[in-house]
Amino acid sequence: MRLSNVVRALHRHVHAAASPGSINASEIAHFSRLSSQWWNEQGEFSFLHKMNPVRVQFIREKLLQVSREEKGEEASSSTKILRGLDVLDVGCGGGLLSESLARLGANTTGIDASESNVAIAKLHASTDPKLDHLSYVHAPAETLLASPKRYDVVCSMEVLEHVDNPASFLSTCAELLKPGGHLFLSTISRTPISYFLTILLAEDILRRVSQGTHTYSKFVNPSELVSFFQKYCSPSSTQSESLEASGTSQLSSPWISPHASPNAPTRTEAEVRGLIYNPLRARWILAPRDAWAATDCNYIFWIRKPY
């Protein structure tokens, strides 16, 4: 059954971008061994390669939609929406997503805690004459907090389920955004289905993935992300962050209004969409909004930092 491949690929795709205290050294090592495989589109990571266009599609369409709602129809043409934006890809791995965003014109920075990932990503990008606006950093994401640079878009794909302290990781991503900036996350839900596919089947039964690669308890449900951002408020403007936030009040309002149900956040504040693999066509698709059970395994999440 090919589904097991999906699971395996997803599991092997272990990023290491957690906060300094929570980086799991063995995950980084395991991942580094695999990094030469990153760009073999038919190898270990084929499912990520196939998933990538769908992630970019979601990012593009979301930015377009917001821009149209704010600036009206003339806003921007569909290929130029990312042009000139400062984008950060946290846990960039071999650079699959970073390269695509850079090709769409975003000033892209990929950051990853695995040195060999970053080396592979740099080498691969150097072969492509069209990736002038792409750079990579080998460091944990937290180190960026020390610099005043903030981003229009922060992405972190398939990372959250591997970090030991998700709350601290989410705060880091959130703080790296400019006011009005966009955060995109993709991860796996903690549901019987995802347990079955990713742990029971892949690790315990098929043994395609070494046992313990994934910890069920680390999986994050969409409603938990929503709840987190119903409580989360951007820190008051202090120290290095003061550049753009100067003059704002002490504590801004939460990113998602606390009255909304965690299962149905206000559309303009956040969105959750399922990513579903169709084994017949060997393609990922973005599930329609509100599709039943679509977010029970892989999903992608968008939220916007308030101004």
Binding site: H49, P53, R103, L104, L123, D128, P129, H133
Partner: protein, 579 residues
């Protein structure tokens, strides 16, 4: 990357920026491109119909043209095509029946308006019959549920007219660079640390480094060899004779010359494709020795034989071939008067009424023709002469590559058109398959650009192969089987099992092949229906299995004729369902 300069609001400044951007694309970039390498996003090898259409499609797509630098390399001199201006009333001998899907593509990309449609003719009706049993199917545009029946099922178009239109269109598309009279000498793989991209060495000394290398380079595709994509196939023991035929116009009591005819003979099908009221194109597939004797005969003799081949019983045709071969071998080819005499004699022996449309030995003048015979429209108009210099013949082969996308060391390559497949030209379908490839590939490239993808990557190209490979294979298989159904001399039982059964399974493709119009609907319609067709086929398969069993119990001798009749029935039933 793109538009790296500071944004500006002034329109003129923006125009200047666009120009800079174009220039910067042309310069070798960054340290990795040694001075000799020119960086290209898409290199198309081959300026045949497939390559030119792809270049036009990419150049006219806003998304692709703003983001991709496209270079087309053609070994031949395209200025001859550009300046092609045939005298009025004369037509090139290489024509294709462009399906509505192909025309829709050409319209979408803006090339169709550069094609001289005065020189094309719609096919409003099609008559296909079995040369042995005389089972016949008639398809007409108004009956098969087309969205726009008045536009016909297909349009007979000279390949040169199409190519010239595409070249004119390309002149308006600055994002496409045409490099002509330049051959690809060799293709090498760039160093591993530079990603192993294909390096295309031209005979003018230039080297193009290709993000994506497209092989639109025909049957002997150098791109296919570079990518080491295996191709399997065989040559039919068959030649295709082409010629431009001149005939009197259809009379006042007849429908205009918009019917295509195809008769399946044991030596191969003969097709009559209308080009104008008084001109039509011939595609006659037959045994090589017959073809060489026919093409060596004087054109008037060939014209008589064409008339006979659409009319006389199969037995008599064999007799006529023998006469021609005999005379050819002796070095005393038959004269026109002699062959007409032979034909008259055969007609008399079959008791064919001299007033019937099936009689061709006695040429009737317009005056004494009067009211045409009742059967006049079941055969094409009588050919009076062949346009000088248009008789040619070429070998027919069946070839299909194992895949359309290069992998591993051949990565970043993709094949379209004849480079990927050559088919039996049951009435000029090869070109349509190629244009279908181009439509799909251009769409996949555009999608990849839209999502920031690398257009040379396997991920970007995979959907192309997924969509086209089986589609082409089914259609090619159907054409191949139609050919074999009549021409094979293998053990009949084995053959019936392997061919007859599958043939029924593929009745959709067969219908398309029979009608010479796979894709008489336009491509958008086709695509959305694709999944359902596949699903429906599974069920059809079951039904076909049942009838195949009956088929086999019917005895071997009658099977060949029964087989084709069955097919015709299946096809017309399908056609009646209205697609």
């Amino acid at each position: 990357m793109l538009f790296s300069l500071a944004p500006t609001t002034s329109k003129s400044c923006r125009a200047a920026l666009v120009n800079c951007h174009k220039l910067s694309l042309c310069r070798p970039r960054r340290e990795l491109s040694s001075a000799a390498h020119e960086e290209c996003d898409v290199v198309i090898v081959g300026g045949g119909p497939a390559g030119l259409t792809l270049a036009s499609a990419l150049g006219s797509s806003q998304i692709s043209s703003q983001n991709l630098r496209v270079t087309l390399v053609e070994g031949g001199d395209l200025s001859k095509v550009r300046q092609w201006s045939p005298p009025p009333g004369s037509f090139s001998n290489r024509v294709s029946s462009l399906t509505n899907a192909s025309q829709a593509l050409l319209k979408d990309i803006g090339a169709w308006s550069h094609v001289d449609t005065q020189r094309t003719a719609p096919v409003e009706e099609m008559q296909v019959w079995d040369g042995v049993s005389d089972a016949r199917v008639t398809f007409s545009a108004s009956e098969i549920g087309l969205a726009r029946p008045q536009e016909g099922m297909a349009r007979i178009t000279e390949n040169l007219n199409l190519q010239r239109g595409l070249l004119r269109h390309l002149e308006q598309l600055p994002s496409v660079q045409l490099v002509e009279k330049t051959k690809v000498e060799s293709i090498q793989r760039d160093a591993e640390e530079r990603g192993g991209w294909p390096l295309v060495h031209l005979d003018n000394g230039k080297v193009l480094r290709a993000r994506l290398l497209v092989g639109a380079d025909g049957f002997n595709s150098p791109v296919r060899s570079y990518a080491q994509i295996p191709s399997f196939g065989w040559s039919y023991d068959t030649q295709g004779i082409v010629a431009t035929m001149v005939h009197p116009p259809r009379g006042a009591f007849q429908s205009p010359n918009t019917t295509a005819y195809q008769r399946f003979l044991p030596t191969g099908p003969i097709a009559f494709l209308p080009l104008s009221p008084t001109t039509s194109s011939l595609v006659w597939s037959t045994r090589p020795h017959i073809a060489s004797a026919l093409t060596a005969s004087e054109p008037a003799v060939l014209a008589s034989m064409i008339n006979a081949a659409f009319r006389l019983p199969e037995l008599s045709l064999r007799y006529l071939y023998d006469r021609i071969l005999e005379a050819h071998a002796k070095g005393t080819p038959l004269t026109h008067a002699e062959i007409q005499q032979e034909i008259l004699w055969r007609e008399q022996s079959h008791a064919i009424d001299p007033n019937s449309a099936y009689a061709s030995a006695v040429v009737k003048t317009a005056e004494d023709a009067g009211i045409p015979p009742a059967d006049s429209e079941s055969v094409p108009p009588l050919v009076a002469s062949l346009q000088p210099g248009t008789v040619a013949s070429f070998p027919l082969r069946f070839n299909h590559t194992e895949t359309y996308i290069g992998e591993g060391h051949g990565a970043r390559t993709v094949l379209v058109g004849d480079a990927a497949h050559t088919v039996h030209p049951l009435a000029g379908q090869g070109l349509n398959l190629g244009l279908g490839d181009v439509e799909c590939l251009a769409r996949c490239i555009e999608n990849a650009v839209l999502q920031g993808g690398d257009v040379g990557s396997y991920t970007a190209l995979m959907p192309y192969a997924q969509e086209r490979y089986l589609h082409n294979h089914a259609l090619m298989g159907a054409m191949d089987k139609l050919h074999k159904l009549y021409t094979t001399t293998f053990e009949p039982v084995v053959w019936a099992r392997s061919v007859g059964v599958e043939v029924l399974n593929e009745s959709d493709s067969l219908k398309a092949a029979l009608m010479m119009t796979a894709g008489s609907q336009d491509h958008k319609v086709d695509r959305s229906a694709f999944g359902w067709n596949l699903a429906a086929k599974g069920f059809e398969g079951l039904a076909a299995g049942a009838s195949a069993a009956k088929f086999l119990s019917g005895g071997v001798t009658g099977m060949i004729a029964t087989g084709l009749q069955g097919l015709f029935k299946a096809a017309s039933a399908n056609a009646a369902k209205g697609n």
